[in-house]
Symmetry: C2
Subunit: 266 residues, 2 copies
């Protein structure tokens, strides 16, 4: 594309500094730092080449700290979202954060948004914008495998479930994805590894590594290879509102017209 | 009280018919049928003595069926709520249900509501009202134990967690409550019982019964006896917005003024 675009970087990436440098070389205008608290120096490095930095924060106190120390805007993302999630829902985060922040800072709301009425609602609570992922995952322009898209069209909200941690010794970062064979296997795997720990046939470090690596490459297997049984079909709860393959322009037009109608009714 | 009031009945109660009859004898004006699909005849029995019936429904199809077959109003309750919950968040249910239902039916929204801005938002999406529990649990008028109230004032949204099912053979109906020792013990208990099943030292029926009965009486232990370590501190994610003991009238006045301010800004 020759249009401006942003880049989403995962804060825990071991080469985060290098990735930021690449963004700088290509004159990226916006960088989103997702997945955790930005490590020291990362916000400054991005602002150093003139880009805007968007940060995530799970609590009000941390949000204020990040915004005061250079973040240009905040994204609050509820547990309805697809992929890696926190424990609190979008509407609760919005109630806790927007009244406190919206007068002084730019706040975007994300998680579970599939219709324009919800966009209008968050804008009126003080958000400057919203972030939607699931709604666009199956757009005509998306390179996702046809079987991945079919799974989305068929799924309802209740099938987009957060992964469950079975044993306190084996940490699992919750990921929301469509239920499939992989979900069941993952639970069974955790019970199996916990059993091996109980019988002392496995070291703790190796056990935790087996759980941590279980889903490695699984998103790619689902999205690109179309393995909808064993791959990770990351999806937000708005997946029930995704019913057919549509061009991005049509999706945006529909969201805008729903928002406008909602605002006009008031 | 000599004011009108409603009664909330659990649909799976074995004596539901008798309870409905008691409501009839006392001229109750509104009955809420919660916790599942109303059994045959229950809606008719309530309407028989002139009361209005409010029903819960987890999906759009079921909501339409219940409203067409006599339900006077629908409550959609998201997984942010305290106590027994479904899997889908309030804002997602609102997007799926309100646009389809609000022109023909009366719909109330519940789950995770702690501020007037959210009330205004759902009303503008087409709800006729909202249902709040957590926000009122620690009111001055509430008979909850002082230690229960203190636990609420201290808690943040992320501490109100849904109970987790560890083993596919041992069903757990998710309940949202504040994390405490009881939460940890319950997970350990499930693993212990699953282990006994594996080693065939326990019958399946007895195993499931042990899990089902684990929390029996636990809400009363928390709310009335003040056992905040082992009781069930049922709380919605709005618990982080409950900060002090206030009279019900003050809570309602605050919610109304936040709603009005939100609507006036538009």
């Amino acid at each position: 594309t020759d249009k401006p675009f942003g880049v989403n970087l995962i804060t825990m990436h071991p080469q985060l500094t290098d990735l930021i440098e690449v963004c700088g070389r290509h004159g990226i205008g916006h960088v989103v730092l997702a997945g955790g608290i930005p490590p020291k120096g990362s916000v400054e490095a991005i602002k150093g080449f003139g880009a805007k930095v968007l940060v995530f924060a799970p609590t009000l106190a941390l949000a204020k700290k990040l915004l005061r120390s250079g973040g240009d805007a905040l994204v609050i993302e509820g547990m309805e979202a697809g992929g890696h999630i926190g424990p609190v829902s979008t509407s609760v985060l919005a109630q806790e954060m927007l009244p406190e922040l919206h007068e002084d800072y730019l706040v975007f709301v994300a998680g579970g948004i599939g219709r324009g009425e919800a966009i209008a609602g968050y804008l009126e609570m003080g958000a400057v914008g919203v972030q939607l992922g699931t709604r666009f995952a199956c757009a005509t322009e998306s390179i996702a495998h046809p079987d991945f898209k079919k799974a989305f069209f068929r799924a309802s909200a209740r099938e987009a479930v957060a992964s469950v941690q079975v044993d306190p010794r084996l940490p699992v970062i919750p990921v929301r994805a469509l239920k499939n064979k992989g979900t069941e296997h993952f639970t069974a795997k955790q019970r199996e590894v916990a059993g091996l720990l109980d019988s002392e046939s496995l070291e703790m470090a190796e056990a935790q590594l087996q759980i941590e690596h279980y889903w490695a490459g699984a998103l790619r297997r689902a999205v690109i290879d179309g393995d909808v049984e064993n791959g990770s079909l990351m999806a937000g709860q708005s997946v029930g509102m995704v019913k057919a393959e549509e061009p991005v322009a049509d999706i945006i037009a529909e969201l805008m017209s729903e928002s406008e109608a909602a605002l006009a009714r008031r």
